[in-house]
Amino acid sequence: MSTASPTQPRANLSASGKKYARQKALRPYLVLAPSFLLTIGILIPFFVAIFYSFTDLTLRSPEYEMVGFKNFVDTFTNPDFWHSVGVTVRYAFFATAVEMVLGMFIALLLNHESAFSRFLRLILIFPLMIAPVIGALIWLLITNPTVGILRVPLGWIGLGDFRWSADPDWALFSLVIIDVWIYTPFVVILVLAGLRSLPKAPYEAALIDGGSAWFVYKNLTLPMLAPVLLIALVFRMMTSLQEFGIIFATTKGGPGDRTLSVAVASYNEAFPYYNLSGAIPMLLFLWFMIYVVCFILIGFWRKAQKAASGAV
């Protein structure tokens, strides 16, 4: 392996000879070692978890026996599990879709200089920097039937008794609103950064050609923004598929099992119900889902990046 630093001053090579070069080739690995060891320590549990999924381990006793694929069969033949997968996918899909569309729209509106847009760009980051569980608590405070303020304006339009997350039909909707409140700013600030880095020349050309605003947006802005949008999408899918805090703090999966996502269901299985080994197949499935979705999106991102830099 003769690869080392991209710039190797000639003087060094001739002076200290091969020993120096070998040292240099090893250096990146040595420098990376501490952080790798530290996180490998955390990766071990991941493999331990896979091992436990073939046992009947519970929190009640430290003893366990190997049970083969029983936990996997039990999980994947259980309709409750597929219900949770459905909840997770719906939650992630609706939250991400609203955040992407609203975030892009707000960013386009904010992409001009005025005192108001500067102010909004500043306050925008508040929800994003508050812990999602705390954000969920804040929403419980405004939607609360006794001390909440939202019942007042909702009363004007005849929805004074709207029960938000306590209403089985609207619980998921209420959670998605909280997610949208917290994470739309993430999309906005990413898209704003993307808009600011757009080259000016193609726009001037389009202006001369007399392209309509929609034409310019569809054929210029959108393709050039594609890399940024895809990055936002990767991060939003990644977090919303495994969202735990918002759901746990608001509904704990209820009413009934209406908002019981895979993350919350597996937490219940493992801790309140002590069934550690039974929870792991659910989580491995969730991990696999996140991994596949992100892997595909990152592939698109690489392509879009090439296209965007080549198109101009």
């Binding site: 392996m1 080392a4 630093s5 991209p6 190797q8 060094n12 080739a25 250096r27 990146p28 690995y29 990376l32 501490p34 952080s35 530290l38 996180t39 955390i42 071990i44 331990v48 978890a49 436990y52 707000i106 509106l109 992409n111 847009s117 306050i123 980051i125 508040f126 929800p127 994003l128 920097m129 508050i130 812990a131 569980v133 705390i134 608590l137 804040i138 419980l140 405070l141 609360n144 001390v147 700013p185 600030i189 990413l190 704003l192 950064a193 808009l195 990055i231 991060f235 990644m238 495994q242 735990f244 805090g245 703090a249 993350a263 597996s266 493992a270 792991i280 969730l286 996140i290 991994y291």
Partner: protein, 277 residues
């Protein structure tokens, strides 16, 4: 770029500001309501909306609650130590990944990123048992260790981009001048990536401070962090909404204040360096 101006004209600008105003209301109102409730005396909680005589009673009560102040302190200690540890091991790692061409570079970088794909509870289940055996359950070091999954990938990926931005010629020139590798690293490179280090450190701290699931299960009762203790206020039998609001306000302030300091780097940080703001 203000390409909308000619097309929408005055009507467009009114419409734009109206939509933005609605969105600002959506963002701000829950926060304003939290502040209002935190200042409201218990007896006015249900009977009034905006007009009441403000009191600090809720904050006094929250601090009087056993463990709340302690949980803020716990969170400060755990999050600071976690980010500190990430800095020590992560800055050199980011340098190696940003600077050297070597076999497996992209794979290693991606491995660090892929920690974020693993659902936290999947890590917690085996870790809970391992920590019990090692005596790390409900301990500072246990949480600091698991928080590396939050702060280390973030730090490595942000700083990697900052190192990539420095021209390799600078390093080469310094070496020709007779500086050793360590001198080049500490005296020349580190000062150049300082803004990145500050931003990554603060953002890492915020994400650790805000994390919930790890602390909920591995911190237990004796290493409760403020995110966990704040949710407990709502779970108690007689809910004092003023207390919930005060506790929520106190535990969200540090993150918001720190975020204002690194506003410029937030885009780059939150996208793990993928989008350069």
């Amino acid at each position: 770029m203000d390409s909308n101006k000619g097309i929408f004209g005055l009507f467009g600008s009114i419409l734009r500001n109206f939509v933005l105003f609605l969105y600002a209301l959506f963002v701000l109102f829950p926060l304003i309501w939290m502040v209002i409730l935190s200042l409201k005396p218990d007896e006015h909680m249900v009977t009034t909306t905006f007009i009441f005589s403000p009191t600090l009673e809720n904050f006094r009560a929250v601090f009087g609650q056993e463990g709340f102040l302690r949980s803020l302190w716990n969170n400060l200690v755990v999050s600071s130590l976690a980010v500190g540890l990430s800095l020590v091991v992560g800055v050199p790692a980011a340098y190696a990944l940003g600077r050297y061409q070597f076999k497996g570079r992209e794979e290693i970088a991606f491995t660090f990123l892929s920690f974020r794909f693993v659902p936290e509870i999947l890590i917690i289940i085996p870790l809970y048992l391992i920590y019990q055996k090692l005596g790390l359950i409900e301990s500072v070091s246990g949480l600091v260790w698991v928080y590396q999954l939050i702060s280390l990938p973030l730090l490595i990926w942000i700083l990697r981009g900052f190192f990539e931005d420095i021209s390799p010629d600078i390093e080469g020139a310094a070496q020709l001048d007779g500086y050793s590798w360590w001198q080049v690293f500490f005296k020349i490179l580190l000062p150049m990536v300082k803004p990145g280090i500050v931003a990554a450190t603060l953002l890492g701290f915020i994400l650790c401070w805000n994390s919930f699931t790890f602390a909920l299960q591995l911190g237990g009762a004796s290493m409760q962090t403020s995110t966990v203790s704040t949710t407990r206020f709502l779970a108690s039998d007689t809910v004092h909404y003023g207390w919930v609001a005060a506790a929520a306000l106190l535990s969200s302030l540090p993150g918001v204040i720190l975020a204002l300091l690194i506003q410029k780097h937030l885009v780059r940080g939150l996208s793990f360096g993928a989008v350069k703001g």
